[in-house]
């Protein structure tokens, strides 16, 4: 008889359990994995930066007493009615179709309670979100689903979506399970079919065309509302420069951690740059054009708390935008639905099959019963609380750095914990004055 081995069974780093299960899944189904959410891999991120705080060389502001401004104006370059936000955190575009009408309403309510904006998404504007959003940004997407000049004129700003961080160079996806009558009608497509939105706009290609597109939108809306251009974080230096050159009032850069309603997993995890690496090149592009602070920069992709907000602003952004975190605030992946998640073969915190439309929290679904689980008023309240907390956290940090305005935070307030993050954020490695790559 063979002697029993005395060494531990060894598992492979290359072929780890998840990788193997994915190979088996692919072999079984013959289709790539589609899911919602953002990148789940361990990327360099804002956690790799620290604030230095004030001491003798700089002194702090009094924690609760001295004021620290959080207001920001978005879009005053060319528009006569820019957005006036109380806080520098906006709600990112998430489509009706991907989200339930209740979820869209809750986002509008929450944003309005704290004086910030929310954004439509692929599939058009719903009356619920227009009605409950004081400041609503209307997206112009490649698909043009539900695109309507009347809605355009009802918008407080327009966002031309060129790309999304979760899938730079890719289009949207909404699978048949979620295409009920209302969604189908808004998109002018048959019910129950899989929708793969295009990745390119139907009526322009390069930046010179985009400039004329922006002119058209301004002529339609009488030069009143700001025009945002949203790009995925892939070549932020060039893309931000071209967006600004094309006449954008505001540029949104969405890093690869950015969430999506549904995309191929291979896309989410392997295309794009980490949000952390996008900020400085974007800011540099605007500075070199003399447009930093004149064209506002919004950063998104994996923003979770007030520290992330403060760090993005310190690196030069004017505001941030959140998608996933807002959904979590509403109740997405909440442990109280653990049993339901188990029935779907997953667990609270890991549920990402949003495209199947079976969300127990009633957020990423079009199912009547499930979507009723989300009370839009309560959801709105929860979102408002969360946005307030983030703002107060960011103010706490700013005051400790001696700043009476969140946007007075600067790269000099930061150090980096790793060589990678020092290079990406352009701030010194902690304890040194070394910024790799400069």
């Amino acid at each position: 008889m063979k002697k029993k081995s005395i060494t531990e069974p060894r598992t492979s780093h290359t072929f780890d359990a998840y990788t193997n299960s994915e190979i088996r899944r692919a072999a079984e189904t013959g289709i790539y994995d589609i899911r919602g959410g953002g990148s789940k891999r361990n990327l360099p991120n804002f956690d790799d930066l620290l604030f230095l705080g004030a001491s003798i060389s700089r002194y702090p502001l009094e924690g609760y007493r001295e004021s620290c401004n959080t207001k920001v104006i978005l879009g005053d370059r060319f528009s006569s009615n820019p957005l006036n936000l109380e806080i520098p955190i906006t709600i990112a575009g998430m489509s009706f179709g991907a989200l339930s009408a209740q979820a869209k309403e809750a986002l509008g309510r929450g944003a309005s309670l704290v004086g910030t904006s929310t954004t439509t998404g692929d599939g058009g504007m719903t009356k619920e979100e227009r009605g409950h959003s004081k400041q609503l940004v209307y997206q112009l997407l490649p698909s043009r689903y539900g695109m309507n000049p009347d809605d355009l004129r009802k918008a407080d700003a327009i966002e031309i979506v060129v790309g999304q961080g979760a899938k730079p160079g890719g289009g949207g996806m909404l699978l048949g399970q979620k295409i009920n009558d209302r969604v189908a009608e808004m998109r002018t497509l048959p019910k129950g079919i899989d929708q793969r939105s295009p990745c390119r706009h139907p009526d322009w290609t390069g930046p010179d065309d985009m400039e004329i597109k922006i002119l058209e939108l301004r002529e339609i809306t009488g030069w009143k509302v700001p025009i945002f251009v949203k790009v995925a974080g892939s070549r932020p230096y060039y893309d931000v420069a071209l967006a600004a050159k094309s006449g954008a009032d505001v540029v949104v850069v969405d890093g690869m951690q950015g969430g999506t309603a549904a995309t191929q997993e291979v896309f989410i995890e392997n295309v794009g740059m980490p949000t952390l690496a996008c900020v400085r090149p974007a800011v540099r592009a605007l500075q070199e054009l003399g447009l930093h602070r004149k064209v506002q920069l919004i950063i998104s992709g994996g923003i979770r708390n007030g520290a992330d907000v403060a760090k993005a602003l310190a690196l030069g952004a004017d505001a941030v935008s959140i998608g996933s975190a807002a959904l979590i605030a509403l109740g997405d992946n909440d442990p109280r639905y653990q049993k339901d998640y188990e029935k779907l073969g997953t667990k609270a915190g890991s549920f990402d099959d949003w495209h199947e439309g079976l969300d127990p929290a009633g957020i990423t679904t079009q199912d009547k019963k499930l979507s009723k689980r989300l009370d839009p008023k309560l959801g709105g309240r929860r979102l408002a609380n969360y946005l307030n907390v983030m703002t107060m956290e960011a103010q706490t940090i700013a005051r400790a750095c001696g700043k009476n305005d969140l946007r007075n935070l600067e790269p000099e307030d930061l150090c980096a914990l790793t060589v990678e993050s020092a290079a990406m954020a352009g701030v010194p490695l902690a304890g040194t004055n070394w910024i790799p790559g400069t």
Binding site: I193, P198, D203, D209, I212, E216, T221
Partner: protein
């Protein structure tokens, strides 16, 4: 009739006048010099005649208006129009009628590539030829082509109809020739009579549309995705 002359007025002035005009007004635009974004965002029943050629996005996102160009038009003619009519006596560039939700476009000359891309209910009639990738991802509405169609006609088409009297260089993914039924013939006749087009022989038209094989993911189609 009101004359709006580009030699005297700016684009902003002219668009503002058109957008703010009373119902049933009539305008004649002179010296357009290929201007972009002209006559956009009109949502009233007015009549506009342009003497000369226009640039990008002419008459984009319009509702109800009746517009004629005596000349040619640049890319994105009538993009996302909702209703009303556009009539161009010359040729039009790429993406004519892109994403149009309703109304009708009549082009007496040729249309370049991607004519009717993403169309969502508009009717487009081209008396000449259309370029490649026309009716790409066309969702709803009708594209009527009197001349020839370029390569990959109707690629990834949804529920729109394409009628072609001339030759088709090639069909795109999931686009097939379909039977010209009585219903479709009368649909074609309606579209053309609404646009006051009468000089044609209905028997010369063939119909194309979606095979609907890409509507839901199917492993056996993987190469096309």
């Amino acid at each position: 009739m009101n004359i709006l002359d580009f030699n005297k007025l700016s684009l902003r002035d002219i668009n503002k006048t058109l957008q703010g005009s009373d119902k049933n007004s009539f305008f004649s635009i002179r010296n357009p010099k290929g201007s972009h974004a002209l006559a956009v965002g009109i949502n009233k029943q007015i009549t506009v005649k342009v003497v000369g050629s226009v640039g990008y996005y002419f008459a984009g996102m319009n509702k109800l208006s009746d517009i004629k160009v005596e000349g040619s038009a640049g890319p994105g003619l009538g993009e996302n129009m909702m209703s009303g009519n556009i009539h161009v006596t010359g040729d039009v560039s790429q993406y004519a009628g892109a994403s149009g939700h309703g109304g009708s476009i009549l082009v007496e000359g040729n249309a370049s590539s991607r004519c009717g891309i993403s169309m969502k209910g508009v009717d487009i009639i081209v008396k000449g030829n259309v370029g490649h990738m026309s009716a790409f991802m066309a969702q709803k509405g009708n594209l009527v082509i009197f001349g020839n169609a370029g390569h990959a006609l109707g690629d990834s088409i949804y529920e729109a109809n394409i009628y072609v009297a001339g030759e088709v260089a090639s069909l795109g993914a999931d686009c097939i020739e379909k039977k010209m039924t009585k219903k479709h013939l009368s649909n074609l006749e309606n579209i053309l009579s609404n646009a006051n087009v009468s000089d044609y022989n209905p028997d010369t038209f063939r119909r194309f549309g979606s095979a609907r094989s890409l509507y839901n993911f199917n492993v056996d189609n993987a190469k096309i995705y």
